[in-house]
Amino acid sequence: MQIFTPSADTRLRLFVSVVIVLILGSLAFLSGHAESSFATKRGWVQEQPVPFSHEHHVAGLGLDCRYCHASVENSAHAGFPPTHTCMTCHSQLYTDASELAPVRQSMAKNLPIRWNRVSALPDYVYFNHSIHIDRGIACVECHGRVDRMPITFRAKPFQMEFCLGCHRDPAPHLRPPNMTTVMDWGDWQEKHPEYGAEAMAAHNIEPEKLVSCTTCHR
């Protein structure tokens, strides 16, 4: 009893090939997606209540990071500036600018501005800004060139492999702790090739401990 037509075999093979291609294709898609800026939000500008420009304030005016993110040296969190910090200048400058209306409202109502997070870590990651500043990890290592960001965006993919890249080999990323807010390091690495190793020794930095699970997942 001939149940299937001669073309049935071709169609079956075609079907199997399509299934295989779909499986391989979806695997390729998933692995591409995991690394993509779509998944990591790297380079995607975050909407904010006030179009704050780091480029203007850092590169243009020369404000130090710590002027606004004041707790970065001695707290887990870098801290967001209270509206009073904005008002140190903006009580005098651009007092009528419509873009700054939310700042004036916040001041008047005594309610903080609700900024939207740009650099977020999952809750199961224990991250402390102060130790990184204290050992000389420059802001630019994780946050990128904020002095070139008219509107702030995430500069690095905040995935575990990004953290581990540094924790496994910290030496090239170490800088003098008192210079961490410097944005442009130019050819510093070429000029001070031995600094990383010396800093590792001076601070007793052991990569084996830095990659232990409990360093970040407590």
């Binding site: 009893m1 299937f4 001669p6 075999d9 995935q159």
Partner: protein, 670 residues
């Protein structure tokens, strides 16, 4: 038809033929013309209700987290894991029965292996669901698999929990493949028996175009037997590994070396019990008493008794080692088991497992379906108590008094457990309804070989009594009369080949050997079951399947081992001070992947070398060919060119066939 052989001889072959057809009919008619529709629907409704309960319980679990269960901190592995072990234990019997008895050439397995394997599959699915549901975030279960990820980490390969992922996955895949390739020939006979178009397509796709040729059977046999040989140690390794989930932990009551064999014996014990629970009603519902005889029940009962006694040995060994060690926490755990809050689980296990079991020493209980059913039910319950006891009584009182606590399963624990019974029942009922549940071709093969053996004995004694010692032992003569009641159709212009039908494998064997001798190098034979010696008669000596399986096994073992070496070097983790490269800890996954790769390579190579799937084939155009899946034996001679057709017909008609048919080339018949 004028028979060439003595009339008695022909009568014997005819009777056997009728029985072959009867077996196929009896098994294959069940899905095609289902006899027990009402009862089936009653069971199915119950199964669907339980399945719905499973989905409700799982949804509640996902919505609220594992907090809806009774788990708490001392007893953080509770009903979910004890049910996991219970289901997985049940899921070990099918493959064990089927593979081990196949290797031991115990033909009685053929009546049981198909549905025992199906039971295995669905039980393993139920088991596999539990750890995933227990994860808390089950949608991330793929984190157990080693794959390149943005976290730059790998699974912790020194943990039995990671071994578990590989073991259960390998076991599931190997069991599915073993069951499936074992069923392909029966799918083919169901395809040939089906009358309705949708059934033909359903079985036709499942059978992949199986034609039962000597080459098909030869490669199938190699693949099937080696898979069986790998499946037996796989069963042992998987349940040993499950026991290490417990025995590798420093918990009193878990940390003993008797656990691996104790778990394997217990798994086989509970599995044989559930096989018996399923066998008895199936046998009754479908009147399969002539295929599943009281001998089968007797043997099942003996296996149940034997594995039960092995499990009892595990209990005794545990008692002995606890008292021999006299370690206070161990003694305390034992006292808690026997007389503590959960005493009922310990004594429930002892009583349900071992007390009714003793009836099986008597033959009348072994062969009584109802007694076997009830005793097996008691064992299934007893083994459930045992797993509960092992989990809860060991955990609720830990080393530290400060971390003692009580455990009670919540409503959602119980509904989920009831739901998994639905997860088991619904696909099993679908299997019973739609697929041939007994291996028809293997029953036929066993019957043939058995009858053949008896015939040879009979002939020999007859010859001896007649003093015909020097007589030619083979009564068959190849130069027989032509079958004049089946007039030969006129030769067509183009033929695929010429097909001769025989009603008896002996004749086919002789004809095949003669054809090969006469220079027909591309002769092919088609039989409803593998006929011993047919591949040799046709000069088929293809050893590629075993070689490919060997290569697959080597590649699997190497990749399994070096995957673990590489991942441990890539991200060295300090696991309790163990060395980074710890070969003993890497062995289980190495073994599992060896089996997995070998079996997958074997099945793929078996199919590809057999040129399957092949849904459309010139042979299927021949009306009579469908008997090749039931009770007839065919020899096909293919002409090298069209001019030799005549000689093929002449040659075959000299072999005394029942019928001669020209196979038209595709499209040439129009």
């Amino acid at each position: 038809m004028t028979p060439a052989a003595p009339a008695k001889e022909r009568g014997w072959a005819k009777a056997l033929d009728a029985r072959f057809a009867g077996i196929t009919d009896e098994i294959v008619r069940i899905p095609l013309d289902y006899p027990q529709r009402r009862n089936w629907w009653l069971f199915m409704l119950a199964g669907l209700f339980l399945l719905a309960l499973f989905f409700v319980s799982a949804s509640v679990l996902f919505a609220n987290g594992v907090g809806v269960w009774g788990n708490n901190i001392p007893v953080n592995w509770s009903l979910a894991i004890s049910n996991y072990v219970w289901w997985l234990g049940i899921g070990h019997a099918g493959t064990l029965i089927s593979a081990l008895l196949l290797l031991l050439s115990q033909d009685w397995r053929n009546s049981l292996n198909r549905f025992a394997e199906a039971m295995t599959l669905f039980a393993v699915v139920c088991a596999g669901l539990y750890p995933i549901l227990h994860l808390g975030r089950p949608w991330l279960f793929y984190w157990m698999a080693p794959y390149p990820n943005t976290m730059d980490i790998w699974p912790q390969f020194k943990s039995p929990l990671t071994w578990d992922f590989f073991a259960v996955l390998t076991y599931l895949i190997v069991s599915v493949l073993f069951w499936y390739i074992g069923a392909i020939p029966d799918f083919a006979s169901a395809r040939e028996r089906a009358k309705k178009r949708r059934w033909q397509i359903f079985y036709g796709l499942l059978a992949l175009g199986w034609r039962g040729s000597a080459h098909h059977w030869w490669r199938w046999n190699q693949c099937y037997r080696i898979t069986a040989a790998l499946a037996v140690p796989l069963v042992v390794s998987v349940h040993s590994e499950i026991s290490l989930l417990f025995a590798a932990g420093p918990i009193p009551g878990w940390n003993t070396t008797v656990f691996p064999p104790y778990f394997v014996a217990g798994a086989a014990f509970s599995g044989f019990a559930v096989v018996s629970i399923i066998t008895v009603p199936l046998r009754r519902a479908f009147a399969l008493g002539d295929l599943i005889t009281s001998r089968h029940l007797d043997l099942l009962a003996k296996l149940l008794l034997a594995t039960g006694l092995m499990t009892a040995y595990g209990y005794v060994a545990e008692l002995f080692s606890t008292y021999y060690a006299s370690e206070p926490h161990g003694l305390q755990t034992l006292a808690d088991r026997m007389g503590g809050q959960y005493w009922w689980s310990y004594w429930g296990a002892i009583i349900c497992n071992f007390v009714p079991l003793q009836l099986l020493w008597q033959r009348r209980f072994r062969t009584s379906p109802i007694a076997l059913f009830l005793i097996s039910l008691s064992v299934a319950i007893g083994m459930w108590f045992e797993r509960y006891m092992l989990l809860v009584t060991s955990l609720y009182r830990d080393w530290l008094v400060s971390s003692w606590g009580d455990y009670a399963a919540s409503v959602w624990d119980w509904t989920l457990y009831a739901g998994t019974i639905g997860v088991f029942l619904v696909p099993f009922l679908l299997f019973v309804r739609f697929l041939p549940m007994i291996s028809a071709f293997e029953v036929k093969k066993a019957l043939f070989e058995h009858e053949e053996f008896r015939r040879q004995i009979r002939e020999r004694t007859e010859h001896l009594s007649q003093g015909a010692l020097g007589h030619d032992e083979s009564p068959r003569r190849l130069s027989g009369d032509r079958t004049d009641d089946s007039p030969l159709p006129p030769p067509t212009e183009k033929v695929y080949g010429t097909l001769a039908e025989f009603d008896d494998p002996e004749r086919l064997l002789a004809a095949a050997a003669a054809a090969r001798k006469a220079g027909w190098s591309n002769a092919e034979a088609y039989t409803p079951f593998p006929v011993k010696g047919l591949h040799a008669a046709l000069g088929c000596n293809d050893r590629r399947v075993p070689l490919i399986m060997l290569a697959g096994g080597i590649v699997g073992a190497l990749s399994g081992y070096f995957m673990q070496v590489f991942t441990n070097l890539d991200f060295p983790l300090n696991v309790g001070g163990r060395p980074v490269i710890a070969p003993p800890a890497f062995m289980l996954i190495t073994f599992e992947l060896m089996v997995l790769f070998a079996v997958v390579a074997g099945v793929l190579s078996m199919l590809i070398l057999n040129r399957l799937p092949r849904l459309n084939h010139p042979l299927f155009d021949v009306e009579e060919f469908h008997f090749s899946a039931v009770d007839r034996f065919f020899l096909l001679l293919r002409p090298d060119d069209g001019s030799r057709t005549g000689s093929a017909r002449d040659f075959l008609s000299n072999c005394n066939p029942v019928r001669l048919v020209d196979v038209p080339v595709r499209g040439a018949q129009a």
